[in-house]
């Protein structure tokens, strides 16, 4: 701080109090305080608005303060116990599966000389890009016990009946796990990339076997990222609706979100009960944040990006190389090729039917023609790109600053900041939409009815993700590099921009890509906040879905995959120019 150039002061001319005030003001007016303060205020504001709204609705009844909402939500007839157990089982199961897949893929891609690295890119991102509704529907057509292609083609001839049932808890975990794996892949990939391999090499030299090395050295080093990934995926599974909605209900597997959905469409809407469920989710999430804080204590021990130079050197797989290659191909086939193939197939039909000579005869490109002729397609695409890029940039900038405060400083209330930035994750999208429209209908600023309100909504929704990505990246970077920049006379802003951001760039870029992609899918708050002319792609998709144009929807999905893969490729190429490791491609 002393580095900021102070103008010549006429200190003596000022009275003592005035002088002190001036000094405080000068100290406060440094770029660092302004930036950090500004970011904190914005993040706080974004997160607190929906939270206050939620709390207000949950705890007020017709006669003032009340906890009636909780009684309604968790009464015996709501089967709350079983519902919570289902939710937990689903969230833990799919989180674990996603973590295993994502971590393995990330490790193999970043740290080994595995073949076919190009496939990783698609394998890790395509499931993320396909809207949840479509991904779940694709899996119905693949693994339905009666009409699922895998069952019909592979298992019925051998076993006489289907083997997989996508409508079971295991089926739900499978689909959700595959859909979530990209979060883990992006986070873990960034972590592995910024990990100094010298510790691993030392262990190898000392004769440690590979499995011990993984367990005792590699995994502990990327613990902040693992913890962040678990937390995000756990909460996101708790909060997601598509898979429980499409797959769970068939056999009566209810979770938190099916209950929230149900409550939100009753008349009159019981916002209180929905809020009570949301706060139940919040309790789980806060416990998760606390646990992750506890797990990430001793932060210094994960800092492998230090003043010492390092160059990640890929581990040679040796004889295992073909085997790893085969596993990658298998995973790619299951997670990407099969669902996308079903979508491509469906997009060529007029209505979905299992492949047969009849259905092959009716194939045409009519759905793609109707997508191209949708009058709003271009507007929606443009709006989605603007909002996706805007939200990703805003969120990653804000959270980079905030996570710096959380990870690096000893500022009072930094834990609270971490929790606050996490709360939007559990506010149901519709409630967020209501909160924002409530606030901006009552302000004079021209925000309601414009793209700004959607940008605010997206920035709010994806704040928690940005925070996880950014703080996982920051935790790995040692403070000593900043200190040396400081010593060399760099201002805080210069240090932040020239040292910290580039060092954490692979994590921040991963977060940016993630937010860009998921904001293309955001629906539940957009649907209340968009205005004619401000449509986004997810709205268009939902329209097709509600109108029963499933095959047109599949065509839109296929186009979306193509567009986003292209966007992400560009992002990584640009990222590479700014110093992100080459192995990301």
């Amino acid at each position: 701080m002393a580095i900021t150039s102070a103008p010549k002061r006429r200190a003596l001319a000022l009275r003592p109090t005035g002088r002190r005030l001036a000094q405080v003001a000068r100290e406060l007016a440094t770029p660092r305080t302004l930036l950090v303060g500004g970011a904190l205020v914005i993040v706080g504001y974004l997160a607190v608005v929906p939270l206050v709204y939620l709390l207000h609705d949950t705890f007020t009844g017709p006669a003032g303060l009340s906890i009636g909402a909780f009684t309604r939500a968790y009464s015996a007839s709501s089967q709350a116990g079983r519902m919570m157990l289902n939710s937990l089982e689903f969230a833990v199961g799919s989180g674990a599966l996603a973590l295993a897949i994502g971590t393995l893929l990330a490790y193999v891609q970043v740290r080994t000389d595995a073949p076919l690295k190009g496939l990783f890119f698609a394998a890790s991102l395509v499931p993320l890009i396909i809207p949840g509704i479509l991904y779940a529907a694709a899996w119905i057509f693949l693994a339905d016990p009666r009409i699922g292609l895998i069952n019909v083609v592979l298992f019925e001839p051998i076993l006489g009946h289907g083997l997989f049932n996508t409508f079971s808890m295991w089926g739900m975990i499978w689909v959700q796990g595959l859909h979530l794996a990209p979060i883990a892949f992006l986070l873990m990939g960034a972590a592995f990339r910024s990990m100094d391999p010298s510790l691993e090499e030392a262990a190898l030299m000392a004769g440690a076997p590979r499995h011990l090395l993984l367990r005792r050295i590699t995994m502990p080093l990327v613990r902040p990222a693992i913890v962040s990934a678990i937390l995000l995926m756990f909460v996101q599974s708790l909060e997601s609706f598509e898979v429980p909605g499409l797959l769970g209900l068939q056999n009566g597997i209810y979770v938190f979100t099916s209950r929230i959905y149900f409550v939100l469409r009753q008349f009159p809407i019981d916002y209180g009960a929905a809020g009570a469920y949301a706060l139940g989710l919040l309790a789980f999430a806060v416990a998760g944040v606390a646990a992750s804080g506890w797990l990430s204590r001793n932060a210094r021990s994960y800092q492998t990006v230090t003043g010492k130079a390092f160059r990640p050197r890929p581990m040679e797989l040796g004889r295992a190389r073909p085997l790893v290659g085969a596993l990658v191909v298998l995973f790619f086939a299951v997670a990407v090729v099969l669902p996308v193939a079903v979508l491509v197939y469906a997009s060529l039909l007029r209505f979905y039917s299992a492949p047969s000579l009849d259905s092959l005869r009716t194939m045409s490109l009519a759905n793609y023609r109707s997508v191209l002729h949708t009058p709003l397609a271009i507007t929606a695409l443009r709006n989605s790109v603007v909002l996706g890029v805007g939200a990703a940039t805003v969120v990653m900038f804000l959270t980079a600053v905030c996570s710096w405060v959380v990870v690096r400083t000893r500022a009072m209330g930094r834990r609270l900041l971490d929790v606050v930035a996490f709360t939007p994750l559990v506010v149901p999208g519709l409630v967020l939409g209501l909160a924002l429209s409530f606030v901006y209908l009552r302000t004079a600023l021209p925000i309601y009815g414009t793209l700004w309100i959607l940008l605010i909504a997206y920035a709010t929704r994806y704040l928690p993700y940005g925070m996880r990505y950014a703080s996982a990246a920051m935790s790995q970077t040692s403070g000593e590099l900043e200190e040396s920049a400081h010593v060399c006379g760099a201002s805080w802003w210069q240090t932040f921009r020239r040292v910290l951001l580039p060092l954490a760039s692979s994590g921040i870029l991963a977060g940016w890509v993630y937010i860009l992609v998921v904001s293309f899918r955001e629906l539940s708050s957009s649907i209340l906040l968009y205005s004619p002319g401000k449509e986004v792609l997810s709205i268009l998709i939902w329209e097709q879905f509600e109108n029963g144009q499933f095959t047109t929807l599949a065509a839109i999905g296929v186009c979306m995959v193509a567009i986003l893969v292209l966007l992400v490729l560009v992002a990584y190429r640009l990222g590479a120019r700014f110093g992100v490791d080459d192995s990301s491609r």
């Binding site: 205020v41 706080g44 504001y45 607190v48 206050v52 709204y53 207000h56 609705d57 007839s77 089967q79 119905i140 057509f141 339905d144 009666r146 009409i147 499409l246 209900l249 068939q250 056999n251 009566g252 209810y254 959905y261 149900f262 939100l264 469409r265 009753q266 008349f267 009159p268 809407i269 916002y271 007029r350 209505f351 979905y352 039917s353 299992a354 009058p375 900041l417 606050v420 519709l430 209501l434 429209s437 409530f438 606030v439 209908l441 009552r442 302000t443 309601y448 649907i527 209340l528 968009y530 205005s531 004619p532 329209e543 097709q544 879905f545 509600e546 109108n547 029963g548 144009q549 499933f550």
Partner: protein
Amino acid sequence: MVGTLAVVVALALSACGKSVTSGGASGGGSAAGTAAEKVYQQLNGLPANQQRAQAIAQAKKEGTLELYTSLTDDVAAEVKQAFEQQTGVKTNVFRANSETVLQRVLQETSANRTGNDAVETNFGEMGQLSKQGVLADYRGAAFASVPESGRFPGWLADRLNIMLPAWNTKLIKPGQEPRSWEDLADPRFKGKLTLELTDSDWYENVTKSWLRHGKTQAQVDDLWKRIVANANVAKGHTVMAELLGAGQTAVDGMNYSYITQNTADKGAPVAFRSADGIAHTIGFARPQGVALMKGAKHPAAAWLFSDWMLSDGQKLLVSLGLTPSVKIAGDNSLQGVTLEPYDVQGLTQDSKTWDDRYDQLLRGLEQIGGD
């Protein structure tokens, strides 16, 4: 952080001290309402043969029509196009599901910033809007053609959703299809039946109809228990129709006939009429409606839209396979269909109890005896 919190709390509390959610929407019309209502009254009061021309002239001066609707996208697009062509009034359409339309209108009216001129959505939501006092009456020339059963306080029915069972014609042999609601409880549909998560108004109508026709509550409860034992649950009628066409399920306990018909028109093997062209199950027709906003900024355009929707618009709905509320020549969506009245009163008064009961039924909880 604390400062931010304070600002937000202040914002929340300053909102007229009203509930943060949907409450307090009743004030929506009072400020701007008088102006719009005057226009409505003036147009309602003109001789029938002058109304349309006057409304068009005034609407063109107003500039645009802002319409909120839950009509499906394809239908909404046709409605917009035809209305613009026939009246020359530019139309902006906000399309979303009915719950969202309701939320948006309530949010805007409660902030005294009514954004739409006219609204077109489902029965339940129309009832809510009417209760909030934000709708105004249309009493123009087309009013007379709306049947008595389609007239509600503040809104008029412009189309009907017909509730009937649907089945996959490849999986269900002719003669084996459900021919009554009771049939859904038959063991032959074990594991072959799909029910929709939120069809509580259907549940209410069938239950009351059974009671009306002499069944005891115990018999009714038993039937529902057996129906649910046969069934899987799905979300969304269009998904159900798609899965029905794909053969994932054999029977939809209830789907809207126009959705089944649209799916069949694409070539999928689904039907709601038996091979003899008759829907043997007695259906229920849920009215969906159109209304004017008290706080409309373009009242003449709103009035014109209601007038058009209940006359020329009805023909358009027929051509799109929907069931109009007004009798229109060439409408065969009701061919072979027998209807019982939809329980408007019961569902206006107490839809939540039925939501809860249906929800509990689907989750296999003990049925709470009837009322």
